[in-house]
Symmetry: C2
Subunit: 231 residues, 2 copies
């Protein structure tokens, strides 16, 4: 049974790294995990070692520890031997490119379909979707495809906000997602404001967090998501 | 001699469509232009007809009129016969995809290298760069390449701003561009705040507008651009 924890973001402004989701994480990761594999590929201006260290600083508080996949001589084997997989935020395009380059897309998908727990935040949550077409990130590198892990049947928009900068034009987030739905009319977008997440267990997907989320579809009214709602 | 007018944006908040650049446009387009071809492909939630009409509403004020390329039975011929080419904003990925689909990348490049004036705004300015890797747009569709028209040797970031949303995380624009430069270390990014433009005549590129622009390179201090500065 698929087990996914898909976070909008790692950290709320002014708080410690991965602080807001730590109770959710501890709950999701209850039991013993000897071999948590962390994929730091989305990190660009931070080294993979530093990124893994930063993660372990946060995981240590709930008794967990991860190993960076960049330390493995055979990354595919590292995935196959993992008893949980964590994928961190950063740049979605670089993350996806590295997953393809290291031939990890299929191995991760198979591993997660067999029930290994997955925790992703920001770009790591985009990765769980059919495609990366609803990322907020800048396309700083060209991946061989926009197809991602397809662990869930809809798209996530992380860091979702309807706030706009005063006296600045450019598209709002809602306009961007309306454009996405115009081009991809059969798709559904789940909007996760910062500090919210989706908890997937098999076919059941539960929205969690204090802020209101949204489900957007082409031409339809938007549906509001509240804490503990089934998506 | 190459002649390009590359605008950050069409319209400042609260103003009429294409109002802020109208004096620059009138100056750039002085003389007689019988056959201005407009490429509306970046428009997603507006039809190509509506987009062309909106443009002509603005161009009429300075005595100009454009024809949408979607009306041409042979778009390549339409480009070859144009005496000016306008490319409007919207979604960069859809615009680039349609240029490839309609086999227009090479014909437009050739035409502009031979001296036909080009006016682009927002996504239309991204198109003039070597790649679309510094667009702010959502990757709602997968183009066959991120390579664009390469009319200038550097990247533009349109709608540039250093403002951030209060109490919202996610990467700032500066962080996104720093990530771009980390992955593309030989590249240069010219940041155009709204209400500013680049005016290119042959090898001379002049920055114009009231707000401060910026030139960003990997590892270097940023260079400030003021009105009439040579880039």
């Amino acid at each position: 049974m698929k087990k996914l924890l898909l976070l909008s973001n790692s950290t709320n402004p002014g708080e410690d790294y991965l602080d807001w989701p730590k109770d959710y994480l501890a709950d999701f990761m209850s039991g013993e995990f000897k071999n948590i594999v962390f994929v730091p590929y989305a990190g660009i201006t931070i080294s993979y070692d530093e990124y893994t260290e930063r993660l372990n600083g946060a995981l240590g508080k709930i008794g967990l520890k991860a190993t960076g996949i960049h330390e493995a001589t055979d990354p595919v084997k590292a995935i196959q031997n993992a008893d949980a997989i964590f994928v961190g935020g950063g740049n979605t395009f670089e993350l996806l490119s590295q997953l393809y380059k290291n031939k990890l897309v299929e191995p991760i998908r198979e591993k997660l379909n067999s029930g290994t727990p997955y925790v992703g935040w920001s770009a790591g949550s985009n990765m769980a979707c059919p495609t990366v077409k609803t990322t907020n990130d800048m396309p700083i590198t060209f991946p061989p495809s926009f197809d991602a892990l397809s662990l869930i049947p809809f798209q996530i928009n992380p860091h979702y906000t309807e706030a706009t900068l005063p006296n600045h034009g450019g598209e709002t987030r809602k306009m961007r997602l309306a454009e996405y739905l115009e081009i991809n009319q059969d798709s559904t977008v789940v909007c996760l404001p910062e500090g919210t997440l989706l908890h997937v267990e098999g076919e059941t997907m539960v929205y969690k967090g204090k802020k209101e989320g949204k489900v957007l579809t082409y031409g339809n009214e938007e549906r509001i998501l509240l804490d503990q709602d089934i998506v």
